[in-house]
């Protein structure tokens, strides 16, 4: 009986893996460039910041280097206890502004002051009482003016053409929300305006590079094809403003990004049946990933808690209000195979010690898992290349030797994360585990605008 359940679960697992390997492989075309639109739609970028003094300037660098005119960027200082606000004041020459008034539709913590930059009038800073990330985003929604809203993490840096790509994606009236491509910042070097991918980095970062590429280029792309996107990453997402107001903004929870995605999906399946959520692989941002096991553990625990929170919160909405396909992907793939199966899997070695009879079965399943893992990573690299991510030949060699080892080492960490996160969700739902920032920067802006050097800024303005 145990054997049969195992085999049935494994068979379902195999089916999902096959979908992820082959759907993007056949659906993604070789030439994958978007055509730039003349007409720029208005885009507001919201950047909630809580104690981000180490990384906030990197984020700002990305903003000022955007190849886009019709945008505004709003930093929301969520009651930071560090120098975040002072750094922004210092580099942006902030002055209080009275030209902005809130929409007064979504409640949030009290606003202390709204500033505008003298240097870059497109950049605003809202200083408010601490209320958490969702609260900060809601405050930002209240003050923004443009029709499309981008939410960006303070540790993420927008690629210069990312807004053009989003502008193009929202040209389709049916698109009401879009997730961007999140790349690992540590996986690139050289100039931010022309970044070069590199694999010359530590194992823990390599593991996350492969994981992000697979999660976005294979999984998110496939989920989009199945109209089943369940999370638009908080690091880089885009929404139509009216939708954010319609669903009363973000909900205060550990995973506000998955939460809002699911609520928008529910709206799509029940009210706006023509509309859709998409993944936009051409709109890229670079995010800083954890470099230590402890930081990685904290991040993944947070993700798993966020996931469990959505499972519990929306348990009654599946199938009838989320539609069939999304429910299948969420409940079967993510919950049954991703979370519940992790618990029995860790007992397999123990079972094998006491019951050697089925060791060939265990070995067989392990072989198939290993084989599927390698082919999925292979597919990831092929699809990434078609999306324009080309590694140097030496890097491909490094990747080829890394992946087989990674599958049987780093990837097993995932089990520990899922199990600990699930248990900790039920023990302490409220604890948030705020991420610690490192502030490393493996790229430079030597050809772009340099905030720290006012002379360069001046020169660039003159040239532009």
């Amino acid at each position: 009986m145990f054997l049969k359940i195992t085999l049935v679960l494994f068979f379902i697992y195999m089916l999902f893996q096959l979908i992820y390997i082959f759907v993007p492989l056949f659906a993604v075309k070789s030439k994958n460039r978007f055509s730039k639109l003349e007409k720029e739609k208005g885009i507001s970028i919201l950047i909630p910041a809580y104690n981000e003094e180490k990384v906030i300037l990197n984020c700002l660098q990305g903003i000022v280097n955007l190849k886009y005119k019709n945008y505004e960027a709003i930093f929301i200082n969520d009651g930071s206890s560090d120098q975040t606000l002072n750094i922004l004041k210092e580099h942006l020459q902030l002055e209080p502004t009275f030209q902005r008034l809130p929409a007064i539709k979504i409640p949030h913590e009290a606003i202390i002051e709204v500033y505008q930059s003298k240097l870059y009038p497109k950049i605003l800073v809202i200083d408010k009482e601490n209320g958490g990330k969702a609260d900060a985003l809601n405050a930002g929604i209240e003050y923004l003016k443009k029709e499309i809203v981008i939410t960006l993490d303070a540790d993420s840096i927008l690629e210069p053409h990312s807004l053009q790509a989003m502008n193009k994606a929202f040209e389709d009236e049916k698109v009401i929300a879009a997730g961007g491509m999140v790349q690992i910042g540590q996986g690139f070097h050289g100039n931010f305006l022309r970044p070069k991918p590199t694999f010359l980095t530590s194992g823990i970062i390599r593991y996350q590079i492969i994981q992000y590429l697979t999660a976005f280029y294979l999984h998110k792309f496939t989920l989009m094809k199945m109209s089943s996107i369940t999370v638009i990453a908080g690091a880089f997402g885009a929404f139509r403003k009216n939708i954010l107001f319609e669903i009363d903004g973000f909900r205060k929870t550990v995973g506000e990004d998955m939460d809002i995605t699911l609520r928008i999906q529910r709206l799509v399946k029940t009210k706006y049946k023509d509309c859709k959520l998409i993944f936009n692989p051409q709109a890229t941002c670079y995010t800083e990933c954890p470099e230590t096991y402890k930081a990685l553990f904290n991040q993944r625990i947070r993700w798993q808690k966020a996931f469990m929170d959505c499972v519990i919160t929306y348990r009654t909405s599946f199938f009838n209000r989320f539609g069939f396909r999304l429910s299948i992907f969420f409940l079967i793939e993510a919950f049954l195979l991703g979370t519940l199966s992790a618990f029995p899997i860790i007992f397999i070695p123990i079972i094998l010690i006491f019951n050697l009879e089925h060791y060939m079965i265990a070995l067989g399943l392990l072989t198939v898992t290993f084989f599927l893992g390698n082919y999925q990573s292979f597919s990831t690299l092929v699809v990434s290349r078609r999306f324009g991510l080309r590694y140097h030949r030496k890097d491909y060699l490094k990747i080829a030797t890394f992946i087989p080892i990674e599958i049987i080492t780093y990837r097993l960490l995932g089990l520990a994360f899922v199990i600990s996160g699930t248990i900790m969700y039920f023990i302490n739902k409220e604890k948030w585990n705020v991420a610690t920032r490192i502030g490393t920067n493996s790229q430079s802006y030597d050809e772009g605008v340099l905030l720290l050097n006012e002379k360069t800024v001046f020169m660039n303005e003159k040239v532009g």
């Binding site: 056949f26 070789s30 079965i361 070995l363 072989t367 092929v382």
Partner: protein
């Protein structure tokens, strides 16, 4: 074009490696899946002690000295099938019914004959005492035995025995007992289920016919001869557990045994064992070599009368 060629190469290499993996592990998976539901668990006991109590009681037959039987025929049956249910696989190459199959009609006639002549069916314990010369039994005493415990024993045989007030020994291969009840199909090889054994234990006295050693090697040597003493003991121990520690009698599959087999039986405290030697049982014979007379499908009622010494 280049993309299509690449994709095809990708798919072909995927399928190739995958089929190699399937080929390597196929046998292991097939075995694991087919074996699992096949054997009755070694450590599971049927609740037989409570319903088999009647086999532990030795009746007082009130036979006057010298008036009792001096020999008792022990009959051996396997399957009993209704003529209507006969299928192709019940016959051998020469189109004769397999020797282990008796038609229900013949069996019914035989049992009615026993009742008409007031035959007494003995339990194994009573037979043992008779063979040891410690018990007088009536002249028309007989022992009925069934080997292998196929499902028809419950469907066809049990009602006939019960109707005629007779009892019988049933030697079962305990590893083949099924937990679930399935619909009776005469042409399939079906074994007694747990509930069928419990429901028929007022008529059948269930004893061991091994756990899973009703087998022969490739050159037809019965397992009880071919296998080591330890292996045989390990197998029989499971059958005793399955039978709720009831280990009074044993029947040798294919009638195959040797000195070592008898030693194992004694170590496991079996009290007697039945062979397939077609002779009549008399007091003084070896208790681990009790002969049995097989009843064949072609036997007429006259043949049957001769076999049971009914003149």
């Amino acid at each position: 074009m280049k993309r299509i060629v690449f994709n095809m190469t990708f798919v072909v290499s995927f399928l190739l490696i995958f089929s190699i993996i399937v080929k390597v592990y196929y046998a292991d998976f097939a075995e694991a899946l087919s074996q699992e539901p096949h054997f009755y668990p070694r450590d599971k006991s049927l609740p037989l002690q409570s319903c088999q109590g009647w086999t532990d009681v030795v009746r007082d037959f009130q036979v006057d000295d010298g008036q009792g039987a001096d020999e008792v025929p022990v009959l051996m049956y396997h399957r009993v099938i209704d003529e209507e249910d006969l299928a192709e696989n019940h016959f051998d190459e020469e189109n004769r019914l397999h020797s282990t199959i008796l038609l229900k009609e013949s069996f019914n006639d035989q049992m009615e004959l026993l009742r008409e002549h007031n035959f007494t069916t003995l339990t194994s314990k009573e037979l043992k005492l008779f063979l040891k010369g410690e018990l007088e039994v009536p002249k028309n005493s007989i022992v009925l035995t069934f080997d292998d415990g196929s499902k028809d024993n419950y469907v066809e045989t049990y009602p006939i025995l019960k109707e005629n007030g007779l009892t019988a020994l049933n030697f079962i291969i305990t590893g083949a007992i099924t937990s679930k009840d399935s619909k009776y199909e005469a042409n399939a090889y079906q074994y007694l289920s747990e509930s069928e054994i419990i429901n028929s234990c007022d008529v059948f006295e269930f004893q061991s016919h091994t756990y899973n050693y009703h087998k022969r090697t490739f050159n037809y040597v019965p397992y009880l001869i071919a296998k080591s003493k330890e292996d045989i003991k390990y197998d029989l121990e499971a059958s005793i557990v399955n039978l709720d520690q009831r280990n009074r009698a044993f029947a040798y599959p294919y009638g195959g045994y040797n000195e070592e087999t008898i030693d194992v039986l004694k170590e496991l405290e079996f009290e007697m064992a039945y062979t397939v030697v077609p002779e009549i049982a008399r007091p003084g014979i070896h208790l681990y070599e009790i002969p049995r007379i097989e009843i064949f499908p072609e036997d007429s009622l006259e043949d049957f009368k001769r076999k049971i010494r009914l003149n």
